[in-house]
């Protein structure tokens, strides 16, 4: 009975949604016409940033990105406090067995390569697809691999929180320097360089590197908290 009710409700909802969506001229019409053109022209011309999405996320909407990083921090903190356990009653690792020697050796070989890929992705965030969030997630997957392969591999919560806090403080203080220097938060006080050079775009690569470190540390801590959850 409930299933029939839900399915009919969803059918009505989906029908109306598709009816609205079919009125869009797919692939030809834009909702954000003026904003889009402004961003697409200003990004290579004024900021000298090749990747327009990065320019929007870090420069035009940089304050929003600070809030986004705060949301990630809040999620990590909430998860750690919901799953809190005293030091004496810390459960065993959920993965109770060590991997076979092929898995452990292979993951030891792969781990530096994964970290290198993650660092590459967040350093080149303004030139190629990718950026701080994506690179941080790749770094965290490297740690996830090590935590799954080795039974007694552990990361220090203190080091993680120090890295995370330093990255967050760097982001906020760079924004404040811009506020004091130029009158608006995250105002660029460095030269812009040339398009498609590694050192270009002013503050954008620096901010994306701090975001990469912050996201990597946060996700690693989150994985570690969830993995040690065993009664």
């Amino acid at each position: 009975m409930k299933k029939v009710l839900v399915i009919s409700l969803l059918a009505v909802f989906g029908g109306y949604l598709l009816k609205v969506l079919f009125q869009i001229d797919f692939g030809h019409q834009f909702f954000t016409n003026g904003v889009k053109d402004l961003y697409l022209v200003a990004s290579p011309e004024k900021l000298k940033v090749a990747n327009v999405v990065t320019a929007i996320v870090v420069n035009f909407r940089g304050f929003d990105t600070l809030g986004e990083v705060t949301v990630l921090f809040l999620a990590t903190t909430a998860m750690a406090s919901i799953l809190y356990k005293g030091r004496h009653q810390l459960g065993e690792r959920a993965v109770l067995f060590s991997g076979s020697s092929i898995v452990t050796t292979g993951s030891k070989l792969l781990f530096p390569a994964i970290i290198l890929l993650g660092v590459y992705v967040f350093i080149h965030g303004h030139l190629t697809p990718g950026g701080g969030f994506q690179g941080g997630v790749i770094v965290a997957t490297g740690f996830l691999l090590m935590l799954m392969a080795y039974k007694d591999y552990s990361v220090s919560h203190i080091v993680l929180s120090v890295v995370e806090s330093l990255a967050g403080i760097t982001f906020a203080s760079l924004g404040l320097v811009g506020l004091i220097n130029g009158g608006s938060f995250l105002n660029d006080f460095m030269g812009n360089g040339t398009l498609n050079a590694l050192f270009s775009g002013g503050l954008i690569p620096i901010i994306y590197i701090t975001v990469g470190f912050k996201v990597g540390a946060e996700l690693t801590g989150l994985i570690y908290t969830a993995l040690n959850e065993k009664d």
């Binding site: 409930k2 299933k3 839900v6 399915i7 969803l10 909802f13 989906g14 949604l17 598709l18 969506l21 079919f22 869009i24 797919f26 692939g27 030809h28 834009f30 909702f31 954000t32 904003v35 889009k36 053109d37 961003y39 697409l40 022209v41 990004s43 290579p44 011309e45 090749a50 990747n51 327009v52 999405v53 929007i56 996320v57 909407r61 929003d64 990105t65 986004e68 949301v71 990630l72 809040l74 999620a75 990590t76 909430a78 998860m79 919901i82 799953l83 030139l127 190629t128 697809p129 950026g131 969030f133 398009l195 498609n196 989150l222 908290t225 969830a226 959850e229 009664d231």
Partner: protein, 137 residues
Amino acid sequence: MDFRLFDLKIVEYSFFITSVVVILIGLYGALVKRSLIKVVIGLSVFDSGVNLLLISVGYLTSGTAPIYSPGLLKGMPLTLENIKKLSEGMVDPVPQALVLTAIVIGFGVTAVALSLVIRLYRHHKTLNIDEIKNLKW
């Protein structure tokens, strides 16, 4: 430069249809399933569907990624006219930037929801929401 193979609406709009179907599957899972893990999975699928819908709204037929890479510039000087000409053929970057935010928020929601599920399981030793009746009045 029109790459449209068929002039059928169903092919053109398959992005929208797929994302609406994904949204409906996620909502169905969140509304009907009794296991809390499945409810969280349903919310996550719903999130993916919304992201897909947002991205496909910014789609441009035979458009390129909004990146001024050296291969796209082909050595032409960086004048305002050239930039405007190149930006005509680029997809909308604004939904992509919004979806980047939405993915992070969705990840945070999923993490907190899963930790609440773990906490509930620790207390009640079950994941079935029919058996967790402490708050029913």
